[in-house]
Symmetry: C2
Subunit: 332 residues, 2 copies
């Protein structure tokens, strides 16, 4: 945090002072991986770590946005401020849907204590999870008590994004054929709470039974000190949303009392730090190889089979990586 410019501190103070304009611009910079963002984030960082981060995930069509909408109102009733980050995955198959849903939520934005940010997947190699983590920190410093990350739970990107949350709620609906599949495929690990939405539909009882069976089986195989709860909701009619929020608060209390809260955040900080280093290395590698034109030459040699990508990789890496002791000495 040392060596920050006055303008960055001023900018940070604008955000800490509650300027929506300032935080919105910062978040755009973060999405665009604009250099200017990071010195401001440095200044903001000491003011982060207070918000409770909730992840809402589930298949397309599960009604996540409506549920998020109603949850936000519920949370406001408790007097907490809310930040919502809706992540639209890059998937051609779902990309449009979330954006559409966002429109429904506009009414929420009438409440100054609710801030909604829609992010489209962009960038390359985990860039989305990094940007999301940054935006969460920005809203955290901005003073939002609860930050909801809403994402479609498909693809490694989205799994990484959900990893940012303290508590994760998986939204299921009756009559989606792939539920058993999803049970098989290890969704249990990411879900702290199951919301069975549209539970006025036929099949809700069966789905609920399947889920609790699965939870029991799982507990036998891999005992845990938290048993995921199941809550039935009909988000459009605002049914069960208060119970869902209670279940979420229960899990948060469990995390705090059991020490899992700090454990989880430690694990997340570990992942995020690695991810940031990863992203920065990529930025430098790409810039350097492209600006020098070295990449073009290498690519031609590889295409013509004069060279192979594996030895090229080794040679470049060896010429670049300075094992700290050596290169620091050399440099001094």
């Amino acid at each position: 945090m040392k060596g920050l410019l006055v303008k960055d501190m001023d900018y940070a103070n604008e955000i800490l002072g509650g300027s929506e304009r300032a935080v919105a611009r910062l978040m755009s910079w973060l999405e665009d991986e604009d250099e200017r963002a990071y010195s401001v984030m440095e200044a903001l960082y000491p003011h982060t770590g207070k918000a409770f981060i909730l992840g809402i995930t589930g298949s397309p069509g599960a009604g996540k946005s409506t549920l998020t909408d109603k949850l936000a109102r519920q949370i406001r009733k408790q007097g907490h401020s809310v930040g919502i980050i809706a992540v639209d995955p890059s998937s051609p198959f779902t990309g449009g849907a979330l954006l559409g849903d966002r429109v429904r939520m506009c009414e929420l934005t009438m409440d100054p204590e609710i801030y909604i940010r829609s992010m489209a997947t962009r960038g390359f190699l985990g860039g989305m999870a990094k940007a999301t983590a940054d935006v969460v920190r920005a809203l955290d410093a901005f003073g939002k008590d609860v930050i909801i990350i809403e994402t479609v739970g498909v693809g490694q990107d989205e799994v990484d994004i959900i990893g940012i949350a303290d508590t994760t709620c998986l939204v299921l609906v009756p009559g989606l054929g792939d539920v058993i599949q999803s049970m098989k495929a290890g969704v249990m690990e990411i879900a702290d709470i199951f919301a069975i939405n549209k539970s006025d539909r036929p099949g809700a009882d069966q789905l609920s039974a399947e889920v609790s069976n699965r939870i029991e089986q799982d507990a036998r195989i891999k005992p845990s000190d938290w048993t995921p709860s199941i809550v039935r909701t009909v988000a459009v009619d605002d049914v069960g949303v208060d119970d869902l929020w209670k279940a979420i608060e229960n899990h948060r209390d469990f995390l705090k009392s059991s020490g899992r809260f700090i454990e989880k955040r430690r694990e997340r900080t570990r992942k995020e730090t690695l991810r940031m280093i990863h992203g920065e290395i990529f930025r430098i590698v790409r810039e350097q190889l492209q600006t020098t034109g070295e990449l073009d030459d290498l690519v031609e040699d590889i295409l013509e089979r004069k060279r192979d990508p594996y030895s090229v990789m080794r040679d470049v890496v060896n010429s670049w990586i300075a094992l700290p002791p050596i290169c620091q000495k050399e440099a001094s």
Copy 2:
């Protein structure tokens, strides 16, 4: 390729000689990012670049696996050998499904000229696309004429994976509500051919009309020298699969005659080379940070807000990456 050990050359020759055992073990190494794989890949690389790479993608339930199955038989009828790489995304919601489908394809494995490999998403930050590109190269060197990559088109990982293909076929089915969404979300760019599968279902005409409308609109906005073709199939009944293969061959011929083939491969080689260099540098840095315990200390400082992740990132990267001019001089 210089400086390869005799054992690596021998291993490579085993694979070039057609040993399934050898190629299977190599691919496992590649999936596990096992160091031993890369010297063998170096030896194999000059023998790659011959295979035609076909990408098959689409939403869960579109019938990709059955279509891939039938296509493989069709391709065999033309006397070509086939390699199939089925990528199971990490998604809890679809992960199980593809694996299930694979079972149906076992009959194919009776034909020695068809090699099927199922890959589960693993690794960290783009590791999957890298591993898939490596496995494609292994099957290419192994002598497969056509390599089919089958993946669910969701998430950045899968988009990167489909980027490996020369020709991409997007599988759609009537009655999936999200078709229009998917059209909006820029799927047009990745699809060279649209297969409307299960086209005996109601809504096939409408879907086909929507797609061709979309293609026309797109051609007006962004003129291109290739107009995606639409082929109707009923994969389970082997209907339209021969037409689909003809459409694929047409696109391949177009790529070759227009020069786009080499352009695409140049672009892909560019991406893959960057991905490999960057992945290797990150691997080294991560290992170092973890084995020395430096990462743990940094994480604690960040958690306690003694430091911020942004300056940590900068410091770590600066201490590791010596940009060539400086460090090469120093080192010599």
